[in-house]
Subunit: 284 residues, 2 copies
């Protein structure tokens, strides 16, 4: 595995690979790698001859009041894990490499970025789409792999790729969970042992909501209320949103119709740590 910090060098190596007929795959991450990230690298490995993993804590997707500075970083450990999972090129650009002085350009996806995460984090997705557009132009990959954990991010990136005609296939890897159900997240490291235990209400309430849909509940508000009630049993947990939305348009549902694919998702602050989780349910 080669570690690359310069954009022109990655561009050169990726061009070289492509011109010799190799399939390039990219896995964009913010580092502090866990088994969720590693599963995405393994998926990229299956679909590509050259796997580029990127590690970049992207300031453009954090608001001033968010945890950009505190976001956990461990490059030494990340290098070992990324290599073991099958990375060929580890791209670790500095902030000034990605956003040089005088930087002015942003990619915006409308509508679907205004709900759910975008409601609490109004500039978040603009940062995501901008950095992903840059990475796609730098590496020009055949495939790019993202995790279902960030369900709305997947929807937003798919929309951008389609609208701006990026010539890349988006592959989505499933959510990886601890054995007790907690979805893996770099932010889990912020949790105290007690908060770690309280954080189980996220996956538990998702399973409860899913069960209600599968058992025939047709009133979304009843499902949202039951999920909220479950989360409220933990005093350290404060709800940002609990959502039942159309999986394609991300519009909140007013009815649960058979055959529809529903994104059940939530954001909950456990202590100071904001956690998200979701599940896709096809209505029987």
């Amino acid at each position: 595995m080669k570690v690359v910090t310069s954009i022109p060098e990655l561009q050169r190596l990726a061009n070289e690979a492509r011109l010799t007929g190799k399939r390039v795959g990219v896995v964009p991450t913010m580092g502090f790698l866990h088994d969720g990230h590693l599963s995405l690298i393994r998926i990229a490995r299956q679909h590509s001859d050259v796997v580029i993993t990127t590690i970049f804590v992207n300031p453009a997707q954090f608001a001033p009041n968010e945890d950009f500075e505190a976001y956990p970083r461990d490059l030494v450990r990340d290098e070992k894990l990324a290599e073991k999972a099958g990375t060929d090129l580890l791209f670790v650009p500095g902030v000034r490499e990605m956003y040089p002085e005088g930087y002015l350009t942003y990619v915006d996806v409308e509508n679907i970025t205004k709900v759910l995460e975008g409601k609490s984090r109004p500039t978040h997705f603009r940062g995501v789409t901008t950095v992903v557009a840059k990475l796609l132009n730098i590496a020009k990959p055949r495939v790019a792999v993202f995790g279902q954990k960030d369900a709305q991010q997947v929807a937003v990136i798919r929309q951008m790729v389609k609208d701006l005609n990026f010539d890349v296939d988006i592959i989505v890897g499933p959510i990886i969970r601890e054995s007790d159900g907690l979805a893996l997240s770099s932010r889990n490291v912020y949790l105290s042992p007690e908060q770690r235990s309280d954080a189980l209400v996220l996956s538990q309430s998702l399973r409860a909501g899913e069960k209600m849909i599968l058992e025939g509940e047709r009133w979304p508000d009843a499902i949202r209320a039951a999920m909220r009630d479950h989360i409220s049993t933990k005093p350290s947990a404060s709800i940002d949103y609990v959502s039942l939305a159309d999986a394609a348009t991300l519009e909140e549902l007013t009815t649960v119709r058979p055959g529809r694919q529903i994104l059940v998702s939530l954001a909950v602050r456990v202590g100071q740590t904001r956690l998200i989780d979701n599940t896709l349910v096809t209505v029987p």
Copy 2:
């Protein structure tokens, strides 16, 4: 020359060319081709093995009160001219091909899009950068050729290409003028014979401003005032702006410093027709 209307087909043909080692060049236009456009196609011809000329009157760069519907179109004539100038692939997508239902993504360049043209046309450059980003992703060219006539457009596209790391060289072709100095423009067709004659104040006042700079005038307001005075001699001409700006940052100048490159530019409405023109001057 092959005429292509579908994005996947152009993508396929451009990929094919690239994979066989050919240099692809793109000339984005809104059609109704004149010698200015044809000079850009000839420049692309010199730098590429496969020249793609695109003709697309891009609704996203027109405001609702502007001339999108009335914008002149003549595809039969354009096909002949584009072929004669050296086009291999003429890309003529429909509006629904470029902006299908549910389209949501836009590319925004900040700051330099807010002045000059952007002041009068606040959503114009967003439409330009979005459609150019799409064309660059569809054709993935080695070079793209634009005209200096749209000086601010050139600056905005250069900024986008640099910021989003598009792997393409931008080549800029000089302004082509009628023998009496009028800059070629598809919109010149709107002018009555009398307006056509009045429209000469644009290039004349640019030459007057340039002369003042070259002869040592150091006060930009004196130059702007002289240019405005000249334009005001024609009652059918109403000034939108007369600008002396730094050629790189597009900031209006308060002093004329030796060695600096100045963009002298203007927008003038002659009757109902809004015309623009500019010249680059290096201060002696």
